[in-house]
């Protein structure tokens, strides 16, 4: 009998433990405010201003439920200030009825001002340490704007603004190559490596940020304020020092081997921008060598693609002509890459990770170069860019109708 009582007692004990503990880590869905984006600014008093973009699930999923929801904006935005990042986070809870939940935050916006003056180094620790934040959260810099403005803007098609920004970056990284989608972990990794510095994409508000907050903004066919990816911010010692735009930005993405597809405009017989060469596949290899006790970098790009546009009659059915175009493409790609390498050298910041490459290949020599790589070695480094471009196809037509047109006129 005694045994039986003991068993019952044990069972009760287990039940007690489990039920008492019921509330420790439990978070019901209707007690959470799901944050989609965070913005970080600094105000005049030197305090951090953290802006939370909180999703209203009913207004996002409302359309699926059939009526009822879908009337209000998809997100609601709150701001809170604090002396540290965490401080501002907890100040946020004085304004928001529900527990701030950051596991679904996929965008972190840092204002350009903050990035320039204080740098991003001190900010990121709070995010890396937090088990809720995803290491794959995308980071962007608010270009010529406050982070707050980016976070507050409403967007169409993708109801959640954070989604829109992230998807824009993903798409443009894939099909244009001027943007990079960098993650929280990626930035920290580059910050801590001595042989490389991070690049972060900028996002700006086109139009009036005030109007962007209103729901009317997304009820028109043309938005009063819209978010647009714009340029790559380059960092040095954790501080933003300059912006890469256009071809320079693309050149950097080429070197980083992040580019998947892009368009290169080629000059033909002295006329600019005649041929549209669409790169379908590319592969970049960066290798380091030491010659005369000085490091040398070789960037080898292999691009494959099609001709998708000609604006003057070009005899595309002739393999020799294609070979000629390939040479032109190589030259153009090389120009873009060299431009961006020059730009980086002027700014004395190794955004390409050349230093890492030297470190990997020559760990012993790195001990000498490593100390002042950014300041003295990198700006003087010899970079050899080799490009092999191939044209595989010319689309549905061989020669353009332009040649027939010219012949008949």
């Amino acid at each position: 009998m005694g045994m039986r009582y003991k068993k019952i007692l044990l069972f009760l004990l287990i039940i007690c433990i489990t039920t008492i503990s019921g509330c420790w880590n439990k978070k019901e869905l209707n007690e959470l405010s799901i944050i989609s984006a965070l913005g970080i600014d600094k105000n005049e008093e030197g305090e951090y201003v953290k802006t939370f973009q909180i999703i209203n699930p009913k207004n996002v999923a409302g359309a699926l439920q059939g009526g009822g929801g879908g009337q209000g904006p998809a997100v609601t935005v709150y701001s809170a200030t604090g002396k540290t990042i965490l401080d501002s986070h907890y100040m946020g809870s004085t304004k928001i009825s529900r527990r701030l939940y950051m596991a679904h935050t996929n965008l972190l916006v840092i204002s350009e001002e903050l990035a320039r003056e204080e740098g991003i180094i001190k900010i990121l620790d709070a995010f890396e340490r937090d088990p809720e934040i995803r290491p794959t959260t995308t980071i962007v810099i608010a270009h010529e704007a406050k982070a707050e403005d980016i976070v507050k803007s409403l967007t169409a098609i993708d109801n959640i603004p954070a989604d829109k920004v992230v998807k824009t970056l993903e798409t443009s990284e894939r099909v244009w190559g001027g943007e990079l989608k960098v993650t929280l972990q990626g930035v920290i990794k580059k910050l801590t490596d001595s042989g490389t510095d991070p690049l972060i994409t900028g996002v700006r508000v086109i139009g009036d940020p005030e109007k962007g907050k209103k729901i009317e903004n997304i009820q028109a066919s043309e938005l009063d304020a819209t978010l647009e990816a714009d340029g790559l911010a380059i960092f040095k010692n954790g501080k933003l020092i300059n912006w890469l735009h256009g071809d320079n930005a693309r050149g950097a993405v080429w070197v980083l081997d992040k580019l998947k597809k892009t368009i290169v405009n080629l000059e033909w017989e002295g006329v600019k921008d005649v041929i549209g060469y669409q790169v379908m596949r590319q592969n970049t290899e960066v290798s380091a060598a030491i010659k005369n006790e000085q490091p040398e970098i070789t960037v080898h790009v292999r691009a494959e693609g099609d001709i998708r546009e000609v604006r003057n009659p070009v005899k595309l059915s002739d393999p020799d002509v294609l070979r000629k175009i390939e040479k032109l493409a190589e030259k153009e790609i090389k120009r873009q890459i060299e431009g961006s390498v020059e730009f980086a050298k002027e700014n004395k910041t190794d955004i390409f990770g050349f230093g890492d490459e030297v470190h990997r290949s020559y760990p012993d020599a790195w001990k000498d170069f490593g100390k002042d790589w950014q300041e003295t070695v990198f700006p003087e480094i010899k970079v050899d860019v080799k490009v092999d471009a191939f044209i595989r196809r010319t689309g549905l037509r061989n020669n353009s109708y332009l040649s027939d047109y010219e012949n008949s006129h």
């Binding site: 489990t18 439990k26 978070k27 799901i34 996002v60 409302g62």
Partner: protein
Amino acid sequence: MPSFFKRHKRKKIDKVHNNKKEQTKKEDSKENSSQNAAGPLNRSLAANLEVIKQKTGSSPDVIIRRLMVGGGPPVEIAIGYVEGLVEEQSVNDFLIKSILNNDDIEVKNGEEILNKIEKDIIALGSIERVNDWEKLFQSMLSGKTIILIDGSSEAISANTRGGEKRSILEPSTQNTIRGSRESFTEAIGTNIALVRRIINNPNLWIEPRKLGTITQTDVSVMYINGIVKDEIVEEVRKRLDNIKLDSILESGYIEQMIQDQTMTTFPTIFHTERPDMVAGNLLEGRVAIFINGTPFVLLAPAVFIQFFQTPEDYYIRSDIATATRFLRVITFFISLMGPAIYVAATTFHQEMIPTQFLLIIAAQRDVVPFPAFVEALIMEVTFEILREAGIRMPKIIGPTISIVGALVIGQASVQAGIVSPAMVIVVSITAIASFATPSFPMAISIRLIRFLFMLCAATFGFYGIVLAFITLLAHLCGLRSFGVPYMSPLTPFIPENAGDTIFRRPWWDLRERPRLIGSKNTVRKGNNQKPEPPAAREMSSRKGDGDEI
């Protein structure tokens, strides 16, 4: 170590005590027997009939027909049987009519008449002599006809068993698309015959016995000599003989009395109503226990994976059978953990759920006033009520319940905001999955444990679920059925038998019987049984083609 001595002493005392107990037991049983059956029959017919009347309380269904026999001084004999248990036709035709037609026999006394009747007159196959009351009542009450003769202390019992019984129908709980359509009935003889018809082999042995001190139910143990492990048969005999119950009304009585472990919700003895399933299991070395009065036959020892197999798995192609078995394993996990995972994911691990999906659930949950666990509990309990009501309810009102169930649970509760649609989906999938488990006792035990999983999920999220799962595994690994580890051949892993677990290898490749169950004669088939196309069609023997044309 003083305690050591103490224990030693106590043991001795125990021993003495036990001996005493045994002695008293023996005496008890002696007394019982003398009370129950009043020893040998009397020589006087009248006295015998008086005893019968008294013993049966003059029940009207005990029919006694008195006849006069013999040409010399006529001797009175009596024919007694229980109405409804016998086939009256054969009693009338082969007993009464035969005796009356042989009216002119010349005999002097009862003994001679007895011999004469036994040898010359009765036109029935199975007869025997009985000389004590116990045997007499037993045979009469099991459907035999008794012939008592004045002046003889022996009686004849003739097998006239019959009467109304259910005909052989299609199985109602274990259906297959392909395979035999027969199922067992309540009559033990019919059931044994059904198996005999499948296995035409003298090694199919049957051991009859009577269990239940009052009901005296016929119970038969069946096995294939030469395949079954002797220890297991011995164990079955021992456990059956240990049963001291007043009644055996269904196979469940015996199942609960002979299982290895009682602290479990899992069935450790298999039951079936399909003769082909019994035959298949006998051929794997198992022992079947037939019980009169129920269409369910027990099979032991049972292993866990067996409850997820159907006879059809062996009839259809092996690849398809394997795929179905995988499906059943998936449904097992869904029905065990479906709601638990949903509760854990939506209350503890929201980070796992893809954002878009989370938003949909969050929007639905926003109006629901209960925590997810309570919500799940409400739905699960409602479902169980519906299921239970569906079984018990008269068939005519069946549709009403489904309408009420579908409307109330499916729609109204969602529209009222008491439950979220996502929860309805989860509970429905779980419910359907639990019915995909072929064995009902297994399914219901999983359903019960599901609530435990839900509780663990609600208090500790996935940590709770995983801990509960490990505990469940340890529990299952600790179970045994007639000494055979319940999780074998998965663990302890027996590579030779792994071909018939979640996988089902093709018959030409399924070489061995379960090792832990049947020991002797483990190999099932000859070598090189793989079917091949005729050689002439092979590419290498192309030459032959021309000759044919």
